[in-house]
């Protein structure tokens, strides 16, 4: 399992591995939105928490198909399924690797984008906290979608279509936390809910994803 994690991280950081592309997409998006909405601080600040969360979600989404597609093409997935590690574990590890290469850089870079979008500084801790709790669920749900669509040619858009509705609870609570942070309101309730969603996803989805993978390997 650790070997798998290390390999995935190493692959991501090698040339062509796509490390950092998610952050780059996030950057471009944060730069585009002001062009669309207009540079006005009064217009940007109230929507910044929502845009930041939607942006995090989209840039996570765009790298999802890498989770299994490459391993499927070169046959590694078949071999992993016959290896002495449970497929559920392999799924969880690959989702973790995805989070480390996509979610974590996003969280580290988020303050920069928050400044671009005029998010008040006092909201920063809550933005980071909510991303920290929420993004693991995004990666895991994405791994599920990737497992379902792994054999399909050009499954990319279909993957988005399947996964986005599943992201809604996380998005709602995450953006709510950030918004409340910006307005100095109490955040306990949404934080608890967000944590509950993430815990449930992390506990149950690996089994669904492994089942989908087994079907696709058949």
């Amino acid at each position: 399992m650790i070997a798998l994690l290390l390999r995935d991280l190493r692959l991501a950081t090698r040339a062509g591995g796509g490390f950092g592309l998610g952050v780059a997409f996030f950057l471009i998006l944060s730069a585009l939105v002001p062009f669309g909405i207009g540079p006005d601080r009064a217009a940007l600040a109230p929507v910044a928490p929502g845009i930041l969360w939607v942006g995090a979600l989209l840039s996570c989404l765009l790298s999802l198909d890498r989770i299994f597609a490459l391993d499927h093409e070169d046959g590694s997935l078949d071999l992993l399924a016959t290896a002495p590690i449970p497929l559920e574990g392999a799924v969880a590890v690959k989702a973790l690797a995805h989070w480390i290469t996509t979610g974590l850089p996003l969280i580290l870079a988020a303050p920069v984008f928050a400044i671009l979008l005029q998010l008040p500084v006092r909201a920063m801790p809550m933005l980071i906290l909510s991303l920290l709790i929420g993004t693991p669920a995004l990666s895991m749900l994405g791994a599920f979608g990737a497992a379902v669509t792994v054999g399909l040619r050009r499954g990319g858009l279909l993957l988005s279509l399947l996964v986005l509705p599943l992201y809604i609870p996380t998005l709602i609570f995450g953006a709510e936390i950030t918004r409340r942070g910006a307005e100095d309101l109490p955040v306990t309730t949404p934080l608890v809910f967000l944590g509950a969603v993430t815990l449930m996803v992390l506990a149950l989805i690996p089994f669904a994803a492994a089942a989908a993978l087994r079907v696709n390997l058949r």
Partner: protein
């Protein structure tokens, strides 16, 4: 000691059964070669034995975690070196002896070359080295000598021979002669599934036919 016992096995692909009623058993030190025309179901049978798909009827009995499977694609990452690729599989399967395995397939000199820069035959040999490091007793090989030249085929036979002597077993599907003199041969042609009504459909195609 029987490493693998297959009894009355029926396998299906795309909702249609391919071969029906196949039985054989494989003891330690034995190799069995599956023959048969294109499309009869060799690959399907091997995937079933490897546990990647379920049998329609019949049983596949073997010890847990005994099988190492090698198909057309070798599961190599082109940006990792030969040694890194092998090291990863060794760790996953809990095996070892990477350098010995590289030497056995004559890739020691190329150990630090990225797998993407290997020729087709060299990639194939690296795939075989993975079997060695897996430490699994039962090798299930699907056309292992594709894109190998004559010298490499001979080396392959030698690797399999060593494995058998060490108490392993091998189940191999192939169209060509592998140079394994002691191997038994099983022609799947007589087991081709007969069309017609079935008691237990193998999938949509048979349920609705």
């Amino acid at each position: 000691m029987s490493l693998l016992t297959v009894h009355d096995l029926t396998v299906a692909r795309g909702g249609l059964r391919a071969v029906e009623g196949v039985s054989f058993s494989l003891n330690s030190g034995q190799a069995l070669i599956l023959k048969g025309p294109n499309g009869i179901g060799k690959t399907t049978l091997l995937r079933t034995v490897a546990g990647l798909q379920r049998p329609v009827t019949g049983t596949v009995a073997m010890a847990e975690d005994a099988v190492a499977y090698a198909a057309h694609s070798d599961g190599l990452k082109s940006s990792l070196t030969a040694r890194e690729n092998l090291g990863f599989w060794a760790r996953v399967f809990g095996g070892g002896g990477i350098d010995a395995a590289l030497a056995a397939v004559d890739l020691a000199a190329l150990a630090d070359r990225p797998a993407g820069a290997l020729s087709a035959g060299q990639k194939r040999r690296l795939g075989l080295a993975r079997l060695i490091v897996s430490g699994r007793p039962l090798w299930v090989l699907d056309e292992p000598t594709v894109s190998l030249d004559a010298a490499s085929v001979a080396r392959f036979a030698q690797v399999v021979g060593t494995h058998l002597v060490a108490g392993g077993a091998a189940l191999i599907a192939t169209h060509i002669d592998l140079g394994l003199p002691d191997a038994q041969m099983l022609d799947l042609t007589p087991f081709r599934a007969r069309p017609g009504p079935v008691t237990r459909p193998s999938g949509f195609n048979e349920a609705f036919a």
